[in-house]
């Protein structure tokens, strides 16, 4: 029970952190003429949770895939309520869910030093999910013309957010092992 409470607390803290990053980022749009292009810093928190596993005196705390999914969905829903951009909610959800599915799969084939790869590929699929949803909602296949640019942006931004998660996790590890 003690562990469950600790886990719940960390999940709540991570959701809050992701939400803050998400809201701040929504206020500063990237000066790029590409719809849907953004840094996606909140994904660093998702990656952090996905690869988080900590052994302490009270046992090991690690998150199941379903726990990470809960953090993600809470962040997207609350983020949409707070920023008031309901028109973009369905885009965030389809991008986020496709991205988390790919990242859960990627987790099995990358090492601790390759979390950035997981971030990059996750971001690419986030953008693909978003564009597919936008095409379906608007009924305008021409939006697909933005895919190449969004794939490149996804790789760059995903690598950055992935490296942030990777650096944070390796710092945590050195704190707990010393």
């Amino acid at each position: 029970m003690r562990i469950a409470t600790k886990k719940l607390t960390i999940m709540a803290a991570l959701t809050a952190a992701a939400l803050i990053v998400f809201i701040i980022e929504a206020q500063i749009p990237l000066p790029l003429p590409i719809p849907g292009a953004k840094l996606g810093l909140a994904n660093a928190i998702t990656l952090f949770a996905l690869f988080y596993s900590q052994s302490g005196q009270q046992g090991t705390v690690s998150f199941k895939n379903s726990d990470v999914l809960i953090i993600l969905i809470c962040r997207i829903l609350l983020g949409s309520f707070i920023t008031g951009r309901f028109a973009l909610l369905i885009l965030s959800l389809s991008g986020g869910l496709l991205s988390i599915a790919v990242q859960i799969f990627m987790k099995r084939i990358v090492t601790d030093k390759q979390i950035w790869v997981c971030g990059a590929i996750g971001a690419v699929f986030h953008n693909i999910g978003q564009i597919v949803a936008a095409i379906l909602i608007s009924g305008t296949p021409a939006i697909a013309a933005y895919l190449p640019a969004l794939i490149i942006i996804g790789i760059i931004s995903g690598t950055i957010t992935g490296l942030i998660a990777q650096a944070a996790l390796s710092r945590m590890k050195s704190i707990y092992t010393n």
Binding site: P29, P35, A37, I137, P148
Partner: protein, 123 residues
Amino acid sequence: MKSQKFWIILLCAVIVVSAASRFFIMQSPGNRALVYQDGVLIDDLDLAGVSEPFSLEVHSTDGVNILSVETGRIRVSMADCSDGTCVRQGWLSQGVVPIVCLPHRLVVRLDSGNDYGLDAIVG
């Protein structure tokens, strides 16, 4: 487990392929501007036949976009959407890359009048 090198090469290859595919979708599809909202065609403008520049307001349930039309080109000059990406996309005079305002579900794209263009490629 794959090496770091494998992933770097893979991601660089994807970047190169994506950048290259840009050139394939740059052909000019024509000089008619089609304005869509929620997937419905709401305006069809012959850009070549525009002699006097004019503006056009497009209202949606979430806000308004103002389109500026000149001879051979069109752009979103003002929008009250949350990100302003559509305004930054600038003038549209050639190519198949459309102007998109995601918050207002507005799309402006060029077309020649026949089926040749991205629709034919994407299906």
